[in-house]
């Protein structure tokens, strides 16, 4: 396949005029088919002149001096340097032919226990290189994958350093869809990516189908993200790169809530409608009051610095880097909310002997953070939305309080002030690997990979005052403890409290495998691998709490400093261990790089599996056919390359714990006034439980057209999961033990991934653009747990369930009442199905089952949080020293459930309330306001479901590379400066902060609990190489 012959022709045609400077003409063609190339950029090296070839491939350069070098560059072709002396030119014309640059296709990518040329792969894979990662300069590397690779959905949050939801090809399991992450051959998780410096990453390959992922067996069911970090080059001088960027983050949207006078008026009306008196006699006193969102949202800085050095001698290469990332939260700012990461990476590769190589990769990271409550009714943003706007932020030197709100909702500034916590993570991850060439083409790899994490947490609940009788208040207004004396004269007091916890994880994997590549009859090519893997993961935690922190101060907040007595101190611990043992093998075969086949298999054993099912086998196979290599193909115009691929195989998912019939020592009862420990049966085992078994099918086409300017990849997939793992809903008369996880359900996902890339240039402008399209349709095929569904997340007080994972439906859909406008008259209420408590002005709920009564049985599907499709569009433009990259992402068809309204009588309301019903004909969708909501207008219904489709310009980066003349003076090889805007523009109909909502799991996707919005980030930076 490698057609690396430089095949340019220079025709010598006479005429030598003897003039040193003259006009030079010529034509440029494709070396393979002789077609003229239009738009080739031609410059005279070292001079500020050049030309661009026209539609017929012709160009002319005036004032050409012989002896100069011409540089021909064209997207998709190898750059050609041509020195032209007078004797070379025998007419006034030169003919130049350029070779296609197939390096992208020749790129060798890591696929797990080996590597393969991208063009040889017959499975489904997406790759993202370091350029794309640099262009988006993310805090976490997986954020850079969003929209860059088809088949992958990333849903991010604006919270500093937070883990996004990563879905590869839809949702298959109810528990956990996180893909496996493999960093330089070491198994890791998405959580581990918080400690990886994105600038250390060389490439990210996403293994999407069974043919590729099944080498990872039971862990590969949700796809595999293979990350390769950078390494040094042999025989090269030390190269340094220095990157730095600083930026500021701002929240673009706020949510319209009532201002103080509107609030007062609406509350008066609510009270009157409930038959009570007016609450605020004089509305005009209030003005606009306090906008709590403005009080808590701030502009916050974000910085990134990294320095790397790489190089190598004849026997050794090295890459070392140090990086620092600091992100402050846009909610409340960096004093109480930040994510700071420091990284040190060392990758060393050295020859121990002629045939033995030693690779040592070590990555140390240190993370520090503080966080505020988010994603819930007690979050800072929820308080900002729901708190009383008539209250001032500060009154008489203390935080303003509400006399009327006594539950959950508090002055968010007071909440921020009273939140004290910190989180410190130390992590070492790395590998020690020996590669030995046993004989020609037979390489043995022995690799020990490890991850050690130490997490320290501390939290402090100080004395706090949110108003007398508020349920969050634990102190008097002067922050002294509340002392109470009961009827018998016993004195009790409230306390402040400190918590400390220490958590350790240690995972190791040892792998030994051999790669053997051989060719038979020069036409049958084989790449084989076989080996085994053994590993263990351990974790443990010890935590303690105590009361009475001296001076009620964070400075003294430590269990050792707190003065609480023995009964005030508590401690706890937990630990786990899991182990696995696997054997794997793979054969890749091709016939003359025209016909491809692969067979992969892995046997996985795990402590998680039931006693009767310790080992599972996960095989897969794939075939490929490069049609364009067939003789008949030459006849087809336009098409330059065409390949068909197909794969089929099984994978797994092992989100279970070892199961036993366990005695719980948790129960206790009170005898003689003293708590007495007891016991009960806590859980029941299932010895037959096994992995979730996934069958995946993939068919795909790769093609390139128009002289390789356009390339298209298209994949259709179908995943079926049998043996879905569940803790079933068993009969309630079994009581409350946790019942065993069993394999009792199945799901199916089908979808299409497509990537279209365009590489061309117009004038001196080179254009590279690609569009990714991802769609996945998911359905729960069966759940055999009696009532055919399980509940997912809910929200609010009182708690309302809204998410179901139900047979025959999309997983995690929204479930609730359908609404049908507002009752205008009593007649309408009377004519409707019986709806208890409804009066004119209340919401009319649909009697879905037609039994004449509106009740829980009328709840139905009211939304689906998963997008119909997503599109990512990258555009990269280069013009002379300037480069511009723009990345746009769109998600279409996903619903969002608004769940951040507290609905207390005295909490604030949304501006939409102003359009409420006040009499027949006044409103057909916004109900009356009242303190006594006898109709339960706030029940879970489609009133709260909104279309969450959006289009967002995620990233714009404009860079300028300084000319060599300047950089040489400065002593650098390359200097590039850039300005960047992230989340520049969002188009959406959604009314909340951010339509992109990440809370982590399938069963609570798309619920907006007052999501932490992704800020717009303005930043500038510079990259220097020397």
């Amino acid at each position: 396949m490698r057609k690396s012959i430089l095949n340019f022709i220079i025709a010598f045609i006479a005429v030598c005029t003897g003039l040193q400077a003259q006009s030079l003409s010529g034509s440029v063609t494709d070396s393979e088919d002789g077609e003229p190339l239009a738009g080739v950029n031609i410059v005279v090296q070292g001079q500020n002149q050049g030309a661009v070839s026209d539609f017929d491939g012709n160009f002319t350069i005036s004032n050409f001096e012989f002896g100069s070098t011409l540089v021909f560059s064209y997207v998709g072709y190898k750059t050609l340097n041509l020195k032209i002396s007078s004797t070379d030119v025998i007419s006034d014309n030169i003919s130049v032919s350029m070779d296609k640059d197939l390096s992208e296709l020749d790129e060798v990518i890591v696929i797990g226990y080996g590597s393969q040329k991208l063009s040889d792969i017959s499975g489904a894979v997406s790759t993202v290189n370091s350029d794309a990662i640099e262009a988006s300069s993310p805090v976490r590397v997986e954020d850079a994958l969003q929209g860059q690779a088809s088949g992958i959905n990333i849903i991010s949050s604006g919270s500093p350093g937070s883990k996004p939801t990563v879905l590869i090809r839809g949702i298959t399991s109810y528990a956990g869809n996180d893909p496996l992450v493999v960093i330089d051959g070491i198994s890791a998780t998405i959580d581990d990516l918080n400690s990886l410096n994105p600038s250390d990453v060389k490439s990210v390959n996403v293994l999407k189908d069974a043919a590729l992922a099944s080498i990872y067996g039971v862990k590969g069911g949700s796809g595999v993200i293979v990350i390769t970090t950078k390494s040094g080059e042999r025989n090269s001088e030390t190269k340094f790169t220095l990157s730095t960027s600083v930026g500021t983050q701002e929240v673009v949207r706020t949510i319209d809530v009532l201002n103080a006078s509107e609030y007062a008026a609406i509350l008066n009306e609510s009270s009157v409608n409930a038959g009570e008196g007016i609450v605020f006699p004089n509305i005009s006193d209030f003005g606009v009051g306090t906008n709590w969102q403005d009080e808590v949202l701030v502009d916050a800085p974000i910085v990134n610095h990294s320095i790397t050095a790489s190089g190598g001698s004849e026997n050794t290469s090295y890459y070392v880097s140090a990086g620092y990332t600091g992100q402050d939260g846009v909610v409340a700012g960096g004093e109480k909310s930040f994510f700071n990461r420091t990284n040190f990476t060392t990758n060393i590769n050295t020859d121990l002997s002629e045939k033995t190589k030693l690779l040592i990769n070590t990555n140390y990271s240190n993370i520090k953070g503080k966080s505020l409550a988010e994603n819930g009714i007690t979050s800072v943003l929820s308080n900002a939305l729901n708190f009383d706007p008539t209250v001032s932020p500060f009154e008489n030197g203390t935080f303003g309080i509400s006399e009327t709100i006594t539950q959950e909702i508090v002055n968010p500034l007071a909440q921020i002030d009273n939140t004290y916590n910190e989180n410190k993570v130390d992590k070492i991850q790395g590998k020690i690997e020996l590669q030995h060439e046993l004989m020609e083409n037979l390489n043995i790899t022995s690799r020990f990979g490890y991850t050690y994490v130490n997490i320290y947490d501390k939290g402090f609940i100080p004395f706090q005052f949110y108003g007398t009788g508020h349920n969050q208040t634990n102190a008097n207004p002067d922050l002294s403890p509340i002392v109470t004396v009961d009827s018998e004269g016993n004195i009790t007091s409230t306390h402040n409290r400190v918590f400390e916890g220490n958590t350790n994880f240690f995972n190791y994997t040892y792998e030994l495998y051999g790669n053997y590549d051989f060719t038979i009859d020069e036409i049958h090519n084989f790449q084989t691998v076989a080996g085994f893997s053994i590993g263990e993961g351990k974790g443990g935690n010890i935590s303690a709490t105590n009361e009475d922190v001296p001076f009620n101060s964070w400075d003294y907040a430590d269990v050792s400093a707190a003065t609480g007595n023995a009964t005030q101190q508590t401690s706890s611990s937990w630990q786990y261990v899991n182990r696995n043992l696997s054997y794997f093998g793979r054969i890749l075969y091709d016939y003359d790089e025209k016909y491809y086949a692969s067979f992969t298999g892995r046997v996985d054993g795990s402590t998680s599996f039931g006693k009767n099912n310790k080992f599972g086998f996960f095989p897969s196979a794939s075939i490929g056919w490069v049609v364009s290599k067939e003789d008949f193909f030459d006849e087809i115009p336009v098409l330059d390359y065409l390949k068909f691929r197909a794969s089929y195989g099984t994978l797994g998912n092992d989100n279970i714990n070892p199961q036993f019939s366990l005695i719980s020592t948790f129960p206790s009862y009170v005898f003689n006034g003293t708590i007495t420990p007891g016991s009960s049966l806590g859980s029941i085992p299932n010895d037959d439980v096994s992995w979730e078994n996934q069958v995946q099918m993939n068919v795909g086409i790769d093609t390139r057209i128009f002289n390789d300017k356009v390339s298209i990849s298209l994949d259709y997939f179908k995943k079926t999961v049998d043996d879905l793992l569940f803790s079933p809903n068993l009969s309630l008369y079994l009581g409350v033990p946790s019942y065993p996880t069993t394999n009792i359900g199945s799901t199916e996902s089908t979808g299409l991934d497509a990537t279209i890339s365009l590489n061309t240039s117009v004038g001196g402008l080179s254009i590279s653009s690609d569009i990714n399209f991802t769609t996945a349709e998911n359905e729960v095929i069966s759940i055999n747990n009696g009532d055919k569904y399980i509940w997912g997340a809910g929200y609010g007080i009182p708690y309302r369930n809204i998410v179901r994972f139900e047979e025959g439906f999309s997983p995690g859909y929204f479930f609730g009442y359908l609404t049908d406008g507002v009752f205008q008259t009593q007649d309408e209420v009377n004519n409707h199905a019986t709806q208890n408590g409804a009066v004119p002005g209340d919401i009319r709920f649909v009697d879905v089952n037609g039994d004449g009564i509106v009740n829980d049985n009328d709840r139905t599907q009211i939304g689906d949080p998963f997008a119909d499709f997503t599109i990512g569009w990258n555009l990269n433009l280069d013009y002379k020293a300037f480069d511009l990259s723009v990345f746009t992402y769109a998600s279409v068809g996903n619903d969002i459930y608004r769940a951040y309204e507290r609905n207390l009588n005295y909490t604030n309301r949304f501006a939409s309330t102003l359009a409420r019903w006040t009499g027949p004909g006044t409103s057909f969708d916004e109900p009356r306001v009242t303190f006594v909501d006898s109709n339960n207008n706030s029940r879970a219904s489609d009133r709260y479901v909104e279309d969450g489709s959006y289009l967002r310009i995620k990233n714009i980066q404009l860079g300028y590379s300084f000319p060599d003349s300047l950089t040489e003076v400065w002593g650098f090889d390359e200097v590039r400066a850039y300005v960047q805007v992230k989340n520049a523009l969002t188009l959406t109909e959604y009314s909340g902060y951010d339509p992109e909502i990440s809370v982590g799991g399938v069963l609570n996707t798309g619920i907006d609990y007052g999501t932490y919005p992704q800020p717009r980030i303005w930043s500038m930076g510079v990259n220097i190489k020397f």
């Binding site: 085994f532 261990v577 182990r579 708590i675 009960s680 009969s731 009581g735 009532d787 207390l904 006594v932």
Partner: protein
């Protein structure tokens, strides 16, 4: 040389793999977990399992709350019309099978049954001194759980041999309540036979507790003669305290009038809202407190279970029980300068028997109130005995005497003695139960048992609301039949 290396490598690989054969086995001991296979091997295991069987009593706070809220004397209250919608619906008699509160009551009671059965299933493992007396407690508790099930739901699945296994899900059907009652009586007779007259630890049931419960169970079946003879055993064993209200305060707990109390403590600092019942405190207490309270004696709560003005005003002149039972919040606030905010269904009255009192909770205030539930008091025994003697036509004189013991304590004199007989006496006894035992969880079930519910409770439909619906989830999963009318 090359071959030698290969062989060496093969040996290495094989030996490593051999070592690994048991690498993926796992035993519970690695996580320091106790399995059932090694349990019930020593007396201490039985002691602990019995404590676990008592434990479920603490989860039954909704049972007590509903006894009042479902009746005419108390409203649901709370924050709004939608706060604890399951209880609001029961207050309004609009409840239907989908009801979280009823589902919890059902599941918790069956957890109690299963814990008792788990002891039954392991009874023969070992022998130790006092085992029979211990199982007297087990049978009492099982009888109590089944009695609550029958009171709430009528016919219910009955099983007594062992804890159910996962495989038995969906295999049971509802047993007629007569058979369930027969099992309850049998368990109580067995308990009476083996329980001691008194226990060394406060909170454990004794022989008289079992007699008292047996009397109640028999009365619920209108077996008056048997009830009278069962209750006779309890008469004179306990005594009425002179100050009615004192027994509902902290230091009146487990007093001379207390026959059976569910024990709570404020010594833990439980704060997991996801498992409110896991606390050692009484969850009902925070529910019944005044909202946004700032003042002496009481502490703030959620304004549930609010007595009606009609009920407050129906107490006779001179009845000391009125102010011990109902807190007139407006009068109290006016007298002490306290402040509060009004909740839904605000009546101006609060449940003074089960209410948050300042300083009686633990570190986490809401979930750790120490207040015990008074399940059977001696005055209840006297009134049950009076009813049995009267309605059984056995001895109205004795019935009057029992009734008047209760009234004399309430009024502090014998000026209010009842001298009626026959059905007039029956009515007087029933009326007395309302004032003596109100807000303690009896009222709704007394009205149902005596056929007066439909005339006193708005929305009560005869032939339907006598029992609550079987939880919809249980109907769906287990295929149980639903109660009539739901």
């Amino acid at each position: 040389m090359k071959n030698f290396k290969t062989i060496l490598l093969l040996i290495l690989v094989t030996s490593v793999l051999n070592r690994c054969t048991d690498h993926v086995d796992y035993e519970a001991i690695e996580g320091y977990q106790i399995t059932s296979e090694i349990y019930f091997q020593q007396e201490a295991d039985y002691d602990a399992a019995l404590v676990g069987t008592y434990d479920v009593l603490q989860w039954l706070f909704f049972n007590i709350q509903l006894g009042a809220i479902a009746s005419e004397i108390s409203l649901c209250g709370g924050e709004s019309a939608t706060d604890y919608i399951g209880i609001q619906q029961i207050d309004d008699m609009t409840h239907y099978p989908e009801n979280n509160v009823l589902r919890q009551i059902w599941q918790f009671l069956y957890e109690g049954v299963n814990r008792a059965n788990y002891m039954e299933q392991n009874k023969a493992n070992i022998d130790f001194e006092g085992k029979e007396a211990m199982y007297g407690e087990v049978y009492f508790l099982r009888a109590y759980y089944y009695f609550e099930l029958v009171k709430f739901f009528g016919d219910v699945p009955l099983f007594t041999e062992a804890r159910l296994t996962a495989g038995e899900a969906g295999t049971l059907t509802r047993t007629p309540k007569e058979e369930v009652y027969a099992q309850i009586e049998l368990d109580l007779q067995n308990a009476i036979a083996s329980l001691p007259n008194s226990q060394s630890q406060v909170g454990r049931v004794n022989k008289y507790t079992a007699y008292a419960l047996l009397g109640k169970v028999l009365l619920y079946q209108d077996k008056f003669a048997e009830a009278a003879s069962a209750l006779d055993n309890v008469i004179g064993v306990y005594s009425l305290v002179s100050d009615y209200g004192s027994q509902f305060l902290r230091f009146g707990e487990n007093g001379p009038e207390s026959v059976f109390e569910i024990q709570y403590s404020n010594q833990s600092n439980w704060y997991d809202w996801g498992c409110a019942h896991c606390s050692e405190g009484n969850y009902a207490i925070i529910m019944n407190g005044p909202r946004g309270w700032s003042g002496p004696e009481y502490a703030q709560g959620w304004s549930f279970n609010v007595p009606t003005a009609e009920f407050y005003n129906s107490f006779e002149e001179g009845d000391t029980r009125r102010d011990a039972t109902v807190l007139d919040i407006e009068a109290f606030a006016a007298a002490t300068g306290a402040s509060y905010t009004e909740g839904y269904d605000h009546t101006g009255y609060f449940n003074n028997k089960y209410i948050p009192r300042a300083g009686e909770s633990g570190g986490q205030t809401e979930l750790n109130y120490l207040t015990n539930f008074r399940i059977i008091r001696y005055s209840d025994v006297l009134l049950m005995a009076a009813e049995a003697y009267n309605r059984g036509g056995i001895d109205d004189g004795l019935a009057q005497e029992f009734l008047n013991q209760v009234r004399r304590r309430a009024f502090g004199d014998d000026d209010n003695d009842i001298s009626a007989s026959g059905t007039a006496l029956t009515d007087a006894i029933w009326e007395e139960r309302k004032f003596e035992l109100s807000l303690e969880g009896h009222r709704f079930f007394d009205l149902v048992r005596t056929g007066r519910a439909s005339s006193l409770i708005t929305g009560f439909v005869e032939g339907k609301h006598e029992v609550f619906p079987i939880p919809q989830q249980e109907v769906d999963i287990s295929g149980l039949t639903q109660n009539a009318g739901y």
